[in-house]
């Protein structure tokens, strides 16, 4: 009897936890801001105002393709992803790899009978999607308009305090 009640308790706890998870994930559905920090080396992380972009874009599929249950406008993708079904993976990094040219990805390129062979890496996906829209809608398009450069970045670009002393014209060829 005592053992059985313990099982009951555990069951109730499980249900409670899963309910809680469901509620939080529902609340996470449209986060107000997202910190993009997967690729910080030469640039600082981006504090992405998700709420603002939800309002501007109106349609989630503009960025989330077919994963948010709003369908896809791309007829090419619609062949497979026409049904409006919300998926568990909605984060960019869930599909777009931060390392698009790893040995595994290179091998995948050769499997041309698969779909998504030509999928962008995370950085490429961000910039193509963001910049394309920003150019059309007069959003910020300069590198540092969205993310400030780190000191390592300044060093790489020979800019800021690492700028060349003589700024004469290049004596090229």
């Amino acid at each position: 009897m005592f053992v059985a009640s313990s099982w009951h308790l555990r069951g109730v706890l499980l249900i409670l936890i899963s309910l809680l998870l469901a509620v939080t994930s529902y609340a996470m559905d449209a986060p107000e801001t997202i910190e993009i920090d997967a690729l910080t080396q030469y640039y600082q992380r981006v504090e992405f105002n998700h709420q603002l972009h939800v309002e501007v874009a109106e349609d989630c599929s503009v960025c989330h393709h077919h994963t948010t249950g709003t369908g896809t406008t791309d007829p090419y993708c619609g062949k497979c992803h026409g049904q409006f079904e919300e998926l568990d993976v909605v984060s960019c990094a869930d599909c777009h790899s931060a390392e698009p040219f790893s040995a595994e990805s290179i091998h995948r390129q050769s499997q041309q009978d698969l779909f998504h062979v030509d999928m962008n890496g995370l950085k490429g996906a961000y910039h193509q999607n963001c910049l394309g829209c920003h150019q059309e809608m007069d959003g910020p398009t300069g590198c540092q308009d969205c993310h400030a450069r780190t000191e390592l970045g300044d060093e790489l670009y020979h800019s800021g305090k690492f700028a060349p002393k003589s700024t004469g014209q290049a004596a090229s060829h």
């Binding site: 040219f101 490429g124 090229s172």
Partner: protein, 312 residues
């Protein structure tokens, strides 16, 4: 009587000899060209994606430990630089193995940026032209060079159809040729993408096996026929290059040389070079034979005349 027959014999012999020599020469010509190592790597450059940020130039500078640039890499005024009375845009130099140039095609309302570096040909003309064998086409697809054997003749600079190799004119004692090596030593040899590809924010550069990249490029052309010219620059040019390009506007508007031949540069001299050993092997024997035959009678005649002279 005997003179005429000898002439006929010589003519026939020459014709026969020429036929003998031309037959194998044709074989050499038809031997086919090398279309690259099967797993050779390359880069697909999608010019519709490049935003002209010059990050690739910065990454190249760091990776190859090149000297500091004259202007910061985030200074976009370099796109306005021209050389030779405004006829030329920037070119790779000893200090910069890759440069990005800006073009403004009339039919587009936005500029197009084009990255220049070594295209890593399947059959490199630089390699063909180098008489100290400094150049190597590796099985990974990179065209590398051994500057320790470079004598500074600069034949490769003339041979390269893309004007890529630069010369370290600033070096006083031992100037050598300098060019992009596909980050071979530090990256591509180990299966990693070159520095420029890794840093490219817009993934305008896609690293992969050349044969896969060709398929990916064709897929993009097919999927968006309105967005792309239906041509892959580098697929056929000079026998194929490791770096491939797709663009929205015709390539000649973006500074690409569209007049290049489809055959490797070496094909222009392959027939001739194939004949050289043949000539060296056959001609001495052939002409010694001719000489012996031709002088056989003459010697007798000479002897006769000498005898006649002696008689007098």
């Amino acid at each position: 009587m005997s003179k005429v027959s000898r002439r006929k014999f010589l003519a026939g012999g020459l014709a026969g000899g020429a036929a003998v020599m031309l037959a194998p020469a044709e074989k050499v010509l038809a031997a086919g060209s090398f279309s690259g190592f099967p797993d050779g790597m390359g880069v697909l450059v999608d010019l519709t994606r490049c935003v002209g940020c010059r990050s690739c130039e910065a990454a190249c500078n760091k990776e190859q430990q090149l000297p500091a640039p004259d202007l910061p890499f985030d200074d976009l005024s370099v796109f306005d630089q021209t050389f030779h009375q405004g006829t030329q845009k920037r070119r790779p130099t000893e200090k910069a193995y890759t440069v990005v140039n800006r073009y403004r095609p009339e039919e587009l309302d936005k500029p197009v940026y084009r990255k220049i570096q070594c295209n890593h040909c399947n059959e490199p003309a630089c390699l063909t032209s180098c008489f100290v064998n400094a150049y190597t086409k590796t099985k990974e697809g990179a065209v590398i060079y051994d500057s320790s054997v470079c004598v500074g003749c600069r034949n490769c600079m003339i041979a390269c159809p893309f004007n890529v190799p630069a010369y370290s004119y600033s070096e006083v004692l031992s100037p050598v040729v300098k060019k992009c090596i596909f980050c071979y030593d530090s990256r591509v040899k180990h299966g990693q993408p070159p520095a420029c590809v890794e840093i490219c924010p817009a993934q305008a550069l896609t690293f992969g096996k050349r044969k896969d990249l060709l398929k990916i490029a064709r897929m993009r052309l097919k999927k968006s026929p309105d967005k792309y010219q239906q041509e892959i620059y580098g697929e056929k040019q000079v026998g194929g290059t490791g770096w491939l390009y797709i663009a929205e506007t015709p390539f000649e508007e973006l500074g690409f040389d569209t007049s290049l031949q489809q055959e490797p540069i070496i094909d222009n001299v392959k027939g001739f070079l194939g004949m050289v050993p043949m000539v060296l092997a056959i001609w001495p024997a052939l002409f010694t034979g001719f000489h012996l035959l031709a002088t056989k009678h003459k010697d007798h005649a000479h002897d006769d005349s000498r005898v006649e002279e002696e008689k007098r």
